[in-house]
């Protein structure tokens, strides 16, 4: 992509050609129109440095190459998916530990149903549930974020339909392992859930 700093509409100059040569062998001078065009968009155009501040925005210092690279990395789909994965892991871990606390069925011994579970058993159960929830949340979060980013890059727009479509894809992919009908239900449910979250956040 070449940068242009000049006005996007070339000036159409219709200059009549110079008076015809008196029949001699000298060629007539070139038309000014074509010369102008050659200088503006043809072979002889000058490369110009493009200063974004000159286009009427608030003047700001030009960004360095490293800054541009870092910003590009932070806006990429992979980074967003990784962020959602880590966030999902943390959230899932917390959620799993919390539900382990309120769901008391640890250490149930059929021979002695009133035995209180030992601390080691309780902690082990909390850890297991926390890890299992964390992994699930991380995978779901990463998938949702990745598909949403890809869909948004493809469509070129950012509105509510992106999260609905990616919710359907994620829910469908999760539910599809349990059969087609579960996949369809998962798609609809997750799409509705993400539409509701989106509506609430906007």
């Amino acid at each position: 992509r070449r940068a242009r700093g000049w006005c996007p509409r070339p000036v159409m100059v219709a200059v009549p050609p110079s008076p015809s040569a008196p029949g001699g062998p000298e060629p007539p001078p070139p038309l000014q129109y074509s010369m102008l065009l050659q200088h503006l968009v043809g072979e002889q155009r000058r490369p110009r440095a493009w200063d974004p501040g000159a286009l009427g925005g608030i003047p700001s210092p030009p960004k360095s190459e490293e800054q541009k690279m870092v910003e590009r990395a932070m806006e990429s789909c992979a980074f967003k998916a990784a962020l959602a994965c880590v966030g999902g892991f943390v959230l899932g871990g917390a959620f799993g530990v919390f539900t382990a606390g309120i769901d008391t069925n640890v250490g149930f011994d059929p021979k002695d149903p009133y035995r209180t579970p030992t601390a080691k058993e309780v902690l082990k159960d909390m850890g297991q549930r926390g890890i299992s929830y964390a992994k699930n949340f991380a995978i779901v979060g990463a998938m949702f974020s990745c598909t949403e980013c890809v869909v948004e890059s493809y469509r070129g727009k950012s509105d509510w339909k992106n999260s609905v479509i990616s919710g359907c894809i994620t829910g469908g992919a999760i539910g599809f392992r349990a059969g087609l009908k579960a996949g369809v239900i998962g798609c609809g449910g997750f799409a509705a859930f993400s539409a509701a979250i989106d509506y609430y956040l906007r």
Binding site: R1, R4, S20, P28, L31, S34, L37, C149, S153, G156
Partner: protein
């Protein structure tokens, strides 16, 4: 170009100060298309004007020798 791409890519209801990913992708594509169309039009116009020039030259030579 700024006006055209802003009209096409940035919907008028602003929710955020930063450009979202979809909008940046759209602006990228808009600028690339604009510049390519511009270049092609320029080449075509140059071609047309060269043809005109040829025609004029032939007419002049014809008028000169006649």
């Amino acid at each position: 170009m700024t006006q055209a791409c802003h009209r096409k890519c940035v919907p008028p209801h602003y929710k955020d100060a930063e450009l979202s990913k979809g909008e940046s992708v759209c602006l990228d594509r808009c600028v690339a298309k604009y510049l390519e169309v511009h270049e092609r039009m320029g080449k075509k116009l140059t071609e047309l004007s060269l043809q005109d020039e040829e025609l004029l030259r032939r007419v002049q030579q014809g008028a000169g020798t006649a």
